[in-house]
Point group: C2
Chain length 206, copies 2
């Protein structure tokens, strides 16, 4: 079971690491952090630098493809080499997945045309520009093994569902227990529908 996580400068760390922390517990798994070159990639905040396991070119197949988002995803929507890689690896996968604006890369690669999908709440218009229908759910499963998830932290929920699809419910529940994922956020501001206006204004001002 090979899991390929695409990484590139400007990716959002938690988009990749949240699901990784779940999926890496799958029996017999091999995880590849695949980047455009062998050089380390730095996340969107600029503080976290990751050493890729392999280049994109060296990563030709995967059982699961995971595409994270971030400003680096948006900057690569016209990067034909990356989009072509996504298409080629997708042709070999059982599951092709995205977190946050990683769905825009799937969209730009032509994989979401006519499908329901989700993305970060701030990128609904961009997602729909690729022919997808935005669905206000945290995890959206579609025919063809395409699963998109909403903003950043939703990748953890998505990975638990994916673990269930791959290894069954008991295993997925065990992984949830292993990461003690019994979330208790101190506020109820995690969706655009629920966040107070002051929090939205705070983000808009930045």
């Amino acid at each position: 079971m090979r899991i390929a996580v695409a990484v590139f400068d400007g990716f959002t760390s938690l988009d990749a690491v949240g699901p990784y922390e779940v999926l890496r517990m799958l029996p017999g798994v091999e995880v590849v952090f695949a980047a455009p070159t062998a050089a380390p990639v730095t996340d969107d905040a600029g503080w976290l630098t990751l050493v890729p396991s392999a280049t994109l070119d060296a990563t030709t197949t995967a059982d699961v493809l995971l595409v994270p988002g971030g400003p680096g995803a948006s900057r690569n929507l016209g990067n034909e080499a990356l989009l072509d890689w996504i298409r080629r690896v997708h042709a070999t996968t059982t599951w092709t997945t995205s977190v946050c604006t990683g769905s825009l890369l799937l969209g730009a690669a032509g994989l979401l045309d006519g499908l329901s999908a989700t993305t970060h709440w701030s990128s609904v218009g961009a997602l729909e520009s690729f022919g997808a229908t935005y669905t206000d759910r945290r995890v959206v499963e579609q025919p063809g093994g395409i699963i998109t998830s909403a903003g950043v932290s939703s990748g953890i929920d998505m990975a638990l569902r994916l673990a269930e699809l791959i290894e069954g419910r008991v295993a997925a529940e065990a992984f949830q227990l292993a990461i003690e994922y019994d979330p208790q956020p101190p506020f109820d501001a995690g969706s655009y529908a629920k966040a107070p206006q002051a929090a939205k204004d705070y983000l808009a001002a930045r």
Copy 2:
């Protein structure tokens, strides 16, 4: 505002990256991933390799110290150089925090003696061996700015609370919205009290 995240071989990626993804949004923040040497460190699963920003020796002060857990934390409980670094940086911090078994490192450094604290559910005895009283809560705040959090994913909840303490509730809610942290785990198996026996057996068998 300098945030020092200790990293070492065998750390659990999400312990570090979950809170990082929240705290890196604090205004004027600088994040340092501090490691024993300048060489890259690899996580407990063996697939994720991170380039440190600085060595421990070069990281002498921090406003927030974050210590992740993982098998690498347990292996370092007798590493006097690391424990001494934790003590020295703690003397400069406003907040000294841990995720998962990172609390064992705080304990081994002598910072938890007589305090309430938490850790991963599997490490309660080890935590109490350092004079701490285990508290079955996701985030435990104590006098002296010491905050411990439970297993792996709890670091996200902890970081949101810490963001509130540092920057106020509106900012913390904005960060929650930014990472779309409206958790909807597909199962209710995230705590030892709630997980089904079959999931516990699955983990025990590995």
